[in-house]
Subunit: 277 residues, 2 copies
Protein backbone atom coordinates (compact mmCIF):
# COMPACT_ATOMS: atom_id res chain seq x y z
CA UNK A 1 0.00 0.00 0.00
CA UNK A 2 1.02 3.62 -0.32
CA UNK A 3 0.52 5.72 2.78
CA UNK A 4 -1.65 8.82 2.86
CA UNK A 5 0.53 11.90 3.35
CA UNK A 6 -0.36 14.02 6.38
CA UNK A 7 0.23 17.53 5.09
CA UNK A 8 1.39 19.73 7.95
CA UNK A 9 1.71 22.85 5.80
CA UNK A 10 -1.93 22.74 4.76
CA UNK A 11 -3.14 21.98 8.27
CA UNK A 12 -0.93 24.70 9.78
CA UNK A 13 -2.63 27.19 7.47
CA UNK A 14 -6.01 26.07 8.78
CA UNK A 15 -4.86 26.38 12.38
CA UNK A 16 -3.52 29.86 11.64
CA UNK A 17 -6.80 30.84 9.97
CA UNK A 18 -8.70 29.58 13.01
CA UNK A 19 -6.41 31.59 15.31
CA UNK A 20 -7.00 34.70 13.21
CA UNK A 21 -10.76 34.27 13.51
CA UNK A 22 -10.51 33.57 17.24
CA UNK A 23 -8.47 36.75 17.78
CA UNK A 24 -10.97 38.85 15.86
CA UNK A 25 -13.72 37.34 18.04
CA UNK A 26 -11.76 38.08 21.23
CA UNK A 27 -12.20 41.80 20.69
CA UNK A 28 -8.73 42.64 21.99
CA UNK A 29 -5.36 41.62 20.59
CA UNK A 30 -3.31 39.10 22.59
CA UNK A 31 0.24 40.30 23.28
CA UNK A 32 3.12 37.86 22.96
CA UNK A 33 6.46 38.70 24.57
CA UNK A 34 9.23 36.76 22.86
CA UNK A 35 12.37 36.97 24.98
CA UNK A 36 15.62 36.47 23.09
CA UNK A 37 19.05 36.50 24.73
CA UNK A 38 22.29 36.86 22.75
CA UNK A 39 23.11 36.42 19.10
CA UNK A 40 22.64 32.74 18.28
CA UNK A 41 21.61 32.84 14.62
CA UNK A 42 19.27 29.84 14.81
CA UNK A 43 17.46 31.27 17.84
CA UNK A 44 17.24 34.67 16.17
CA UNK A 45 15.72 33.06 13.08
CA UNK A 46 13.15 31.07 15.08
CA UNK A 47 12.10 34.14 17.03
CA UNK A 48 11.84 36.26 13.87
CA UNK A 49 9.57 33.64 12.27
CA UNK A 50 7.39 33.45 15.36
CA UNK A 51 7.06 37.23 15.55
CA UNK A 52 6.20 37.55 11.88
CA UNK A 53 3.48 34.92 12.08
CA UNK A 54 2.10 36.47 15.26
CA UNK A 55 1.77 39.88 13.66
CA UNK A 56 0.12 38.32 10.61
CA UNK A 57 -2.73 36.89 12.72
CA UNK A 58 -3.27 39.99 14.84
CA UNK A 59 -1.14 39.23 17.92
CA UNK A 60 0.78 42.22 19.29
CA UNK A 61 4.54 41.72 19.00
CA UNK A 62 6.06 42.57 22.40
CA UNK A 63 9.57 41.36 21.63
CA UNK A 64 12.35 41.81 24.20
CA UNK A 65 15.98 41.29 23.28
CA UNK A 66 18.89 41.08 25.75
CA UNK A 67 22.64 40.99 25.24
CA UNK A 68 24.40 37.67 25.81
CA UNK A 69 25.97 39.03 29.02
CA UNK A 70 22.68 39.91 30.70
CA UNK A 71 22.67 38.78 34.34
CA UNK A 72 20.27 36.26 35.84
CA UNK A 73 18.81 39.02 38.04
CA UNK A 74 18.22 41.43 35.17
CA UNK A 75 16.49 38.77 33.09
CA UNK A 76 14.48 37.55 36.08
CA UNK A 77 13.33 41.11 36.75
CA UNK A 78 12.29 41.53 33.11
CA UNK A 79 10.32 38.27 33.07
CA UNK A 80 8.61 39.18 36.34
CA UNK A 81 7.62 42.54 34.86
CA UNK A 82 6.17 40.81 31.77
CA UNK A 83 4.31 38.45 34.08
CA UNK A 84 2.75 41.39 35.92
CA UNK A 85 1.89 43.34 32.75
CA UNK A 86 -1.79 42.78 31.86
CA UNK A 87 -1.07 43.70 28.23
CA UNK A 88 1.26 40.71 27.94
CA UNK A 89 -0.91 37.60 27.56
CA UNK A 90 1.85 35.21 26.54
CA UNK A 91 5.57 34.90 27.32
CA UNK A 92 8.04 32.81 25.35
CA UNK A 93 11.62 32.50 26.59
CA UNK A 94 13.65 31.32 23.59
CA UNK A 95 16.00 28.47 24.52
CA UNK A 96 18.84 27.66 24.75
CA UNK A 97 20.16 30.45 26.96
CA UNK A 98 23.86 31.31 27.40
CA UNK A 99 25.43 28.89 29.88
CA UNK A 100 25.76 31.40 32.73
CA UNK A 101 21.97 31.64 32.98
CA UNK A 102 19.69 29.18 34.83
CA UNK A 103 16.94 28.54 32.28
CA UNK A 104 14.74 26.48 34.63
CA UNK A 105 14.74 29.21 37.28
CA UNK A 106 13.77 31.79 34.65
CA UNK A 107 11.04 29.60 33.13
CA UNK A 108 9.62 29.21 36.64
CA UNK A 109 8.97 32.96 36.73
CA UNK A 110 6.56 32.78 33.79
CA UNK A 111 2.99 32.73 35.14
CA UNK A 112 1.50 29.35 34.10
CA UNK A 113 -1.42 31.06 32.37
CA UNK A 114 1.03 32.97 30.13
CA UNK A 115 3.27 29.94 29.47
CA UNK A 116 2.50 29.61 25.75
CA UNK A 117 5.36 27.14 25.24
CA UNK A 118 3.96 24.88 27.99
CA UNK A 119 7.45 24.31 29.39
CA UNK A 120 7.12 25.34 33.06
CA UNK A 121 6.87 22.84 35.92
CA UNK A 122 3.30 23.94 36.57
CA UNK A 123 2.27 23.39 32.95
CA UNK A 124 3.92 19.96 32.97
CA UNK A 125 2.12 19.17 36.23
CA UNK A 126 -1.24 20.28 34.87
CA UNK A 127 -0.75 18.02 31.86
CA UNK A 128 0.40 15.09 34.01
CA UNK A 129 -2.64 15.50 36.26
CA UNK A 130 -5.00 15.86 33.28
CA UNK A 131 -5.98 19.41 34.25
CA UNK A 132 -6.61 22.30 31.86
CA UNK A 133 -3.44 24.17 30.96
CA UNK A 134 -1.08 25.17 28.17
CA UNK A 135 0.62 22.24 26.43
CA UNK A 136 3.97 22.13 24.59
CA UNK A 137 3.48 23.15 20.96
CA UNK A 138 5.03 20.23 19.09
CA UNK A 139 3.06 17.37 20.69
CA UNK A 140 -0.05 19.53 20.46
CA UNK A 141 0.62 19.88 16.74
CA UNK A 142 0.98 16.11 16.42
CA UNK A 143 -2.41 15.64 18.08
CA UNK A 144 -3.91 18.17 15.66
CA UNK A 145 -2.45 16.21 12.71
CA UNK A 146 -3.86 12.94 14.07
CA UNK A 147 -7.28 14.50 14.58
CA UNK A 148 -7.33 16.10 11.14
CA UNK A 149 -6.57 12.69 9.66
CA UNK A 150 -9.41 11.16 11.67
CA UNK A 151 -7.10 8.73 13.50
CA UNK A 152 -8.88 6.72 16.20
CA UNK A 153 -7.00 7.25 19.44
CA UNK A 154 -9.34 5.77 22.07
CA UNK A 155 -8.29 2.17 22.64
CA UNK A 156 -5.53 2.40 20.03
CA UNK A 157 -2.00 1.20 20.73
CA UNK A 158 0.17 4.31 20.61
CA UNK A 159 3.95 4.08 20.78
CA UNK A 160 6.11 7.15 21.38
CA UNK A 161 9.81 6.84 20.59
CA UNK A 162 11.78 9.36 22.64
CA UNK A 163 11.21 10.75 26.11
CA UNK A 164 12.27 14.40 25.99
CA UNK A 165 10.45 16.94 28.13
CA UNK A 166 9.72 18.93 24.98
CA UNK A 167 8.11 16.19 22.88
CA UNK A 168 8.15 12.54 23.97
CA UNK A 169 6.89 12.81 27.53
CA UNK A 170 4.13 15.37 26.93
CA UNK A 171 3.14 13.48 23.75
CA UNK A 172 2.62 10.32 25.81
CA UNK A 173 0.49 12.22 28.33
CA UNK A 174 -1.63 13.78 25.59
CA UNK A 175 -2.24 10.39 23.93
CA UNK A 176 -3.10 8.88 27.32
CA UNK A 177 -5.55 11.74 27.85
CA UNK A 178 -7.20 10.66 24.61
CA UNK A 179 -7.57 7.09 25.90
CA UNK A 180 -4.83 5.40 23.88
CA UNK A 181 -2.84 2.54 25.41
CA UNK A 182 0.52 4.31 25.44
CA UNK A 183 4.05 2.90 25.41
CA UNK A 184 7.15 5.09 25.70
CA UNK A 185 10.39 3.78 24.12
CA UNK A 186 13.90 5.18 24.33
CA UNK A 187 17.57 4.34 23.97
CA UNK A 188 17.34 1.56 26.57
CA UNK A 189 14.38 -0.18 24.94
CA UNK A 190 15.46 -3.73 24.11
CA UNK A 191 13.81 -4.54 20.77
CA UNK A 192 12.70 -1.18 19.44
CA UNK A 193 11.37 -2.48 16.13
CA UNK A 194 9.24 -5.13 17.86
CA UNK A 195 7.73 -2.58 20.25
CA UNK A 196 7.07 -0.11 17.42
CA UNK A 197 5.34 -2.83 15.39
CA UNK A 198 2.58 -2.95 18.02
CA UNK A 199 1.61 0.62 17.24
CA UNK A 200 -1.56 1.75 15.54
CA UNK A 201 -0.17 5.24 16.05
CA UNK A 202 3.61 5.65 16.08
CA UNK A 203 5.18 8.98 17.04
CA UNK A 204 8.94 9.14 16.52
CA UNK A 205 10.84 11.89 18.33
CA UNK A 206 14.22 10.32 18.98
CA UNK A 207 16.48 12.74 17.14
CA UNK A 208 18.19 9.89 15.25
CA UNK A 209 18.02 10.07 11.47
CA UNK A 210 16.29 7.09 9.85
CA UNK A 211 15.90 5.25 13.19
CA UNK A 212 12.54 3.76 12.25
CA UNK A 213 12.61 1.51 9.20
CA UNK A 214 9.86 -0.49 7.50
CA UNK A 215 10.35 -3.48 9.81
CA UNK A 216 9.28 -1.32 12.77
CA UNK A 217 5.89 -0.42 11.32
CA UNK A 218 2.67 -2.40 11.38
CA UNK A 219 0.94 -2.35 7.98
CA UNK A 220 -1.63 0.42 7.97
CA UNK A 221 -0.25 2.27 11.01
CA UNK A 222 -0.24 6.05 11.27
CA UNK A 223 3.35 7.29 11.55
CA UNK A 224 4.31 10.75 12.78
CA UNK A 225 7.92 11.84 12.31
CA UNK A 226 9.08 14.63 14.64
CA UNK A 227 12.76 14.39 13.65
CA UNK A 228 14.49 17.03 11.52
CA UNK A 229 18.01 16.47 10.19
CA UNK A 230 19.88 18.54 7.62
CA UNK A 231 21.55 16.33 4.99
CA UNK A 232 23.22 17.10 1.67
CA UNK A 233 20.06 15.72 0.04
CA UNK A 234 17.76 18.01 2.04
CA UNK A 235 15.84 17.68 5.31
CA UNK A 236 15.26 14.16 6.60
CA UNK A 237 13.42 12.76 9.62
CA UNK A 238 13.75 9.97 12.19
CA UNK A 239 11.73 7.72 9.89
CA UNK A 240 12.96 6.12 6.66
CA UNK A 241 10.22 7.77 4.63
CA UNK A 242 10.50 5.94 1.28
CA UNK A 243 10.46 2.49 2.90
CA UNK A 244 7.92 3.22 5.64
CA UNK A 245 5.46 4.99 3.34
CA UNK A 246 5.10 1.67 1.49
CA UNK A 247 3.90 0.00 4.72
CA UNK A 248 2.14 2.68 6.77
CA UNK A 249 -1.46 3.74 6.31
CA UNK A 250 -0.57 7.41 6.82
CA UNK A 251 2.68 9.28 7.37
CA UNK A 252 4.00 12.80 7.85
CA UNK A 253 6.67 13.96 5.41
CA UNK A 254 9.86 15.78 6.44
CA UNK A 255 9.81 18.65 5.68
CA UNK A 256 6.16 19.70 5.61
CA UNK A 257 4.79 17.46 8.36
CA UNK A 258 5.16 18.23 12.06
CA UNK A 259 7.50 21.21 11.52
CA UNK A 260 4.94 23.74 10.29
CA UNK A 261 2.53 22.70 13.04
CA UNK A 262 4.79 23.84 15.89
CA UNK A 263 4.57 27.59 15.20
CA UNK A 264 0.89 27.24 14.32
CA UNK A 265 0.23 25.72 17.75
CA UNK A 266 2.18 28.55 19.39
CA UNK A 267 -0.33 30.95 17.86
CA UNK A 268 -3.20 28.71 19.02
CA UNK A 269 -1.70 28.61 22.54
CA UNK A 270 -1.35 32.39 22.53
CA UNK A 271 -5.06 32.66 21.75
CA UNK A 272 -5.90 30.12 24.48
CA UNK A 273 -3.80 32.06 27.01
CA UNK A 274 -5.40 35.39 26.09
CA UNK A 275 -8.83 33.85 26.50
CA UNK A 276 -8.01 32.45 29.95
CA UNK A 277 -6.47 35.62 31.39
CA UNK B 1 6.81 -22.26 39.63
CA UNK B 2 5.88 -20.59 42.87
CA UNK B 3 6.46 -16.86 43.03
CA UNK B 4 8.69 -15.22 45.60
CA UNK B 5 6.58 -13.15 47.99
CA UNK B 6 7.56 -9.48 48.20
CA UNK B 7 7.04 -8.72 51.88
CA UNK B 8 5.95 -5.11 52.26
CA UNK B 9 5.68 -5.31 56.05
CA UNK B 10 9.30 -6.33 56.43
CA UNK B 11 10.54 -3.76 53.93
CA UNK B 12 8.41 -1.01 55.49
CA UNK B 13 10.15 -1.72 58.80
CA UNK B 14 13.51 -1.27 57.12
CA UNK B 15 12.42 2.01 55.51
CA UNK B 16 11.16 3.22 58.88
CA UNK B 17 14.43 2.24 60.54
CA UNK B 18 16.33 4.12 57.83
CA UNK B 19 14.13 7.20 58.38
CA UNK B 20 14.76 7.00 62.12
CA UNK B 21 18.50 6.96 61.53
CA UNK B 22 18.29 9.79 59.00
CA UNK B 23 16.34 11.94 61.44
CA UNK B 24 18.87 11.34 64.20
CA UNK B 25 21.61 12.35 61.75
CA UNK B 26 19.71 15.50 60.73
CA UNK B 27 20.23 16.97 64.18
CA UNK B 28 16.80 18.63 64.25
CA UNK B 29 13.40 16.95 64.16
CA UNK B 30 11.32 17.38 61.00
CA UNK B 31 7.82 18.69 61.71
CA UNK B 32 4.87 17.20 59.84
CA UNK B 33 1.58 19.10 59.77
CA UNK B 34 -1.26 16.69 59.05
CA UNK B 35 -4.37 18.69 58.17
CA UNK B 36 -7.66 16.89 58.78
CA UNK B 37 -11.06 18.40 58.00
CA UNK B 38 -14.32 17.00 59.40
CA UNK B 39 -15.21 13.67 60.97
CA UNK B 40 -14.86 11.05 58.24
CA UNK B 41 -13.87 7.93 60.23
CA UNK B 42 -11.60 6.49 57.53
CA UNK B 43 -9.70 9.77 57.12
CA UNK B 44 -9.42 10.12 60.90
CA UNK B 45 -7.99 6.59 61.12
CA UNK B 46 -5.45 7.21 58.33
CA UNK B 47 -4.28 10.44 59.92
CA UNK B 48 -4.04 8.84 63.37
CA UNK B 49 -1.83 6.06 61.93
CA UNK B 50 0.39 8.53 60.13
CA UNK B 51 0.79 10.68 63.26
CA UNK B 52 1.60 7.70 65.44
CA UNK B 53 4.28 6.41 63.07
CA UNK B 54 5.75 9.90 62.70
CA UNK B 55 6.13 10.31 66.43
CA UNK B 56 7.70 6.86 66.67
CA UNK B 57 10.53 7.85 64.29
CA UNK B 58 11.19 11.25 65.82
CA UNK B 59 9.09 13.54 63.58
CA UNK B 60 7.28 16.31 65.47
CA UNK B 61 3.50 15.89 65.23
CA UNK B 62 2.05 19.27 64.20
CA UNK B 63 -1.49 18.08 63.63
CA UNK B 64 -4.25 20.56 62.72
CA UNK B 65 -7.90 19.59 62.81
CA UNK B 66 -10.77 21.65 61.37
CA UNK B 67 -14.53 21.27 61.62
CA UNK B 68 -16.35 20.07 58.52
CA UNK B 69 -17.86 23.55 58.03
CA UNK B 70 -14.51 25.36 57.84
CA UNK B 71 -14.48 27.88 54.97
CA UNK B 72 -12.13 27.77 52.01
CA UNK B 73 -10.57 31.05 53.18
CA UNK B 74 -9.97 29.85 56.73
CA UNK B 75 -8.33 26.65 55.52
CA UNK B 76 -6.31 28.50 52.89
CA UNK B 77 -5.06 30.90 55.56
CA UNK B 78 -4.06 28.00 57.81
CA UNK B 79 -2.17 26.20 55.01
CA UNK B 80 -0.39 29.43 54.06
CA UNK B 81 0.67 29.89 57.67
CA UNK B 82 2.02 26.32 57.80
CA UNK B 83 3.84 27.01 54.55
CA UNK B 84 5.51 30.08 56.08
CA UNK B 85 6.37 28.37 59.38
CA UNK B 86 10.02 27.23 59.30
CA UNK B 87 9.29 24.65 62.01
CA UNK B 88 6.86 22.89 59.63
CA UNK B 89 8.95 20.90 57.16
CA UNK B 90 6.11 18.83 55.69
CA UNK B 91 2.40 19.44 55.08
CA UNK B 92 -0.14 16.72 54.37
CA UNK B 93 -3.71 17.71 53.51
CA UNK B 94 -5.81 14.59 54.11
CA UNK B 95 -8.23 13.94 51.23
CA UNK B 96 -11.09 13.79 50.46
CA UNK B 97 -12.31 17.16 51.72
CA UNK B 98 -15.97 18.08 52.26
CA UNK B 99 -17.58 18.97 48.91
CA UNK B 100 -17.81 22.73 49.57
CA UNK B 101 -14.00 22.96 49.59
CA UNK B 102 -11.75 23.20 46.49
CA UNK B 103 -9.06 20.62 47.23
CA UNK B 104 -6.89 21.49 44.21
CA UNK B 105 -6.76 25.17 45.16
CA UNK B 106 -5.77 24.25 48.71
CA UNK B 107 -3.11 21.75 47.61
CA UNK B 108 -1.66 24.50 45.40
CA UNK B 109 -0.92 26.52 48.57
CA UNK B 110 1.45 23.86 49.90
CA UNK B 111 5.04 24.90 49.10
CA UNK B 112 6.42 22.21 46.75
CA UNK B 113 9.36 21.54 49.07
CA UNK B 114 6.92 20.70 51.91
CA UNK B 115 4.60 18.62 49.70
CA UNK B 116 5.31 15.25 51.36
CA UNK B 117 2.38 13.59 49.56
CA UNK B 118 3.76 14.73 46.17
CA UNK B 119 0.29 15.70 45.00
CA UNK B 120 0.67 19.34 43.95
CA UNK B 121 0.91 20.48 40.33
CA UNK B 122 4.51 21.51 40.88
CA UNK B 123 5.48 18.11 42.28
CA UNK B 124 3.74 16.39 39.37
CA UNK B 125 5.57 18.70 36.97
CA UNK B 126 8.95 18.03 38.58
CA UNK B 127 8.34 14.30 38.24
CA UNK B 128 7.15 14.63 34.64
CA UNK B 129 10.24 16.70 33.77
CA UNK B 130 12.57 14.31 35.60
CA UNK B 131 13.66 16.97 38.11
CA UNK B 132 14.32 16.41 41.81
CA UNK B 133 11.18 16.70 43.91
CA UNK B 134 8.82 14.90 46.26
CA UNK B 135 7.02 11.94 44.70
CA UNK B 136 3.65 10.39 45.60
CA UNK B 137 4.11 7.81 48.38
CA UNK B 138 2.44 4.73 46.90
CA UNK B 139 4.38 4.54 43.60
CA UNK B 140 7.54 5.41 45.51
CA UNK B 141 6.84 2.44 47.77
CA UNK B 142 6.37 0.20 44.75
CA UNK B 143 9.76 1.28 43.43
CA UNK B 144 11.29 0.52 46.82
CA UNK B 145 9.77 -2.99 46.72
CA UNK B 146 11.11 -3.57 43.21
CA UNK B 147 14.57 -2.39 44.21
CA UNK B 148 14.62 -4.48 47.37
CA UNK B 149 13.78 -7.52 45.26
CA UNK B 150 16.58 -6.66 42.86
CA UNK B 151 14.25 -6.35 39.87
CA UNK B 152 16.01 -5.12 36.72
CA UNK B 153 14.19 -2.04 35.49
CA UNK B 154 16.53 -0.64 32.83
CA UNK B 155 15.40 -2.01 29.49
CA UNK B 156 12.61 -4.04 31.08
CA UNK B 157 9.09 -3.99 29.74
CA UNK B 158 6.98 -2.43 32.47
CA UNK B 159 3.20 -2.32 32.24
CA UNK B 160 1.12 -0.15 34.57
CA UNK B 161 -2.61 -0.91 34.76
CA UNK B 162 -4.50 2.20 35.86
CA UNK B 163 -3.84 5.89 35.22
CA UNK B 164 -4.82 7.70 38.40
CA UNK B 165 -2.92 10.82 39.43
CA UNK B 166 -2.19 9.17 42.76
CA UNK B 167 -0.67 5.90 41.50
CA UNK B 168 -0.77 4.92 37.82
CA UNK B 169 0.54 8.07 36.18
CA UNK B 170 3.37 8.83 38.64
CA UNK B 171 4.27 5.11 38.68
CA UNK B 172 4.72 5.20 34.90
CA UNK B 173 6.94 8.30 35.18
CA UNK B 174 9.07 6.72 37.91
CA UNK B 175 9.56 3.53 35.88
CA UNK B 176 10.43 5.60 32.81
CA UNK B 177 12.95 7.50 34.93
CA UNK B 178 14.53 4.13 35.69
CA UNK B 179 14.84 3.37 31.97
CA UNK B 180 12.05 0.82 31.63
CA UNK B 181 10.00 0.67 28.42
CA UNK B 182 6.69 1.69 29.95
CA UNK B 183 3.13 1.01 28.82
CA UNK B 184 0.08 2.47 30.57
CA UNK B 185 -3.19 0.51 30.31
CA UNK B 186 -6.68 1.51 31.45
CA UNK B 187 -10.38 0.84 30.96
CA UNK B 188 -10.18 1.60 27.23
CA UNK B 189 -7.29 -0.78 26.57
CA UNK B 190 -8.45 -3.31 23.99
CA UNK B 191 -6.87 -6.60 25.04
CA UNK B 192 -5.69 -6.01 28.58
CA UNK B 193 -4.43 -9.55 29.19
CA UNK B 194 -2.33 -9.50 26.01
CA UNK B 195 -0.74 -6.17 26.90
CA UNK B 196 -0.06 -7.30 30.49
CA UNK B 197 1.57 -10.51 29.20
CA UNK B 198 4.36 -8.38 27.69
CA UNK B 199 5.40 -7.19 31.12
CA UNK B 200 8.58 -8.13 32.93
CA UNK B 201 7.28 -5.83 35.66
CA UNK B 202 3.51 -5.50 36.05
CA UNK B 203 2.03 -2.91 38.40
CA UNK B 204 -1.73 -3.19 38.86
CA UNK B 205 -3.54 -0.17 40.27
CA UNK B 206 -6.94 -0.37 38.63
CA UNK B 207 -9.18 -0.61 41.68
CA UNK B 208 -10.96 -3.68 40.28
CA UNK B 209 -10.84 -6.80 42.40
CA UNK B 210 -9.21 -9.78 40.69
CA UNK B 211 -8.82 -7.92 37.37
CA UNK B 212 -5.50 -9.57 36.56
CA UNK B 213 -5.66 -13.34 36.23
CA UNK B 214 -2.97 -15.89 35.37
CA UNK B 215 -3.52 -15.47 31.62
CA UNK B 216 -2.36 -11.84 31.92
CA UNK B 217 1.02 -12.69 33.40
CA UNK B 218 4.21 -13.74 31.64
CA UNK B 219 5.90 -16.66 33.43
CA UNK B 220 8.52 -15.27 35.76
CA UNK B 221 7.22 -11.69 35.76
CA UNK B 222 7.32 -9.48 38.85
CA UNK B 223 3.75 -8.54 39.80
CA UNK B 224 2.88 -5.64 42.12
CA UNK B 225 -0.70 -5.39 43.35
CA UNK B 226 -1.76 -1.93 44.52
CA UNK B 227 -5.46 -2.79 44.87
CA UNK B 228 -7.14 -3.20 48.26
CA UNK B 229 -10.70 -4.56 48.51
CA UNK B 230 -12.55 -5.64 51.65
CA UNK B 231 -14.30 -8.97 51.19
CA UNK B 232 -16.00 -11.39 53.60
CA UNK B 233 -12.89 -13.56 53.24
CA UNK B 234 -10.50 -10.71 54.11
CA UNK B 235 -8.57 -8.12 52.09
CA UNK B 236 -8.06 -8.86 48.40
CA UNK B 237 -6.20 -7.07 45.60
CA UNK B 238 -6.58 -6.33 41.89
CA UNK B 239 -4.62 -9.52 41.15
CA UNK B 240 -5.94 -13.09 41.49
CA UNK B 241 -3.19 -14.02 43.93
CA UNK B 242 -3.56 -17.83 44.13
CA UNK B 243 -3.57 -18.25 40.34
CA UNK B 244 -0.98 -15.60 39.50
CA UNK B 245 1.48 -16.69 42.19
CA UNK B 246 1.75 -20.00 40.31
CA UNK B 247 2.95 -18.14 37.18
CA UNK B 248 4.80 -15.03 38.37
CA UNK B 249 8.41 -14.94 39.48
CA UNK B 250 7.62 -12.58 42.35
CA UNK B 251 4.41 -11.06 43.69
CA UNK B 252 3.17 -8.76 46.44
CA UNK B 253 0.51 -10.19 48.75
CA UNK B 254 -2.62 -8.29 49.81
CA UNK B 255 -2.53 -7.44 52.65
CA UNK B 256 1.14 -7.02 53.51
CA UNK B 257 2.52 -5.88 50.16
CA UNK B 258 2.19 -2.32 48.90
CA UNK B 259 -0.08 -1.16 51.72
CA UNK B 260 2.53 -0.94 54.50
CA UNK B 261 4.95 0.81 52.12
CA UNK B 262 2.75 3.88 51.64
CA UNK B 263 3.04 5.25 55.19
CA UNK B 264 6.71 4.24 55.29
CA UNK B 265 7.39 6.34 52.20
CA UNK B 266 5.51 9.26 53.77
CA UNK B 267 8.07 9.15 56.58
CA UNK B 268 10.89 8.91 54.03
CA UNK B 269 9.44 11.90 52.12
CA UNK B 270 9.18 13.87 55.36
CA UNK B 271 12.88 13.26 55.94
CA UNK B 272 13.69 14.24 52.33
CA UNK B 273 11.69 17.45 52.68
CA UNK B 274 13.35 18.36 55.98
CA UNK B 275 16.75 17.83 54.41
CA UNK B 276 15.94 20.08 51.43
CA UNK B 277 14.49 22.98 53.42
Amino acid sequence: MTAAILDGRLLAEKVVARATGDIAALGRAPGLATVLVGDDPASALYVRNKRRQCVAVGIRDLHRRFDADVTQDELAEAIRALGDDPGVTGILLQLPLPPHLDADALLALIPPDKDVDGLTETSAGRLALGRPGLRPCTPLGVLELLDAHGATLSGAEAVVVGRSSLVGKPMAQLLLGRDATVTVCHSRTRDLAAVCRRADVLVVAAGIRGLVAADAVKPGATVIDVGIHRTPGGLRGDVDFPAVSAVAGAITPVPGGVGPMTIAMLLANTVTAARTL
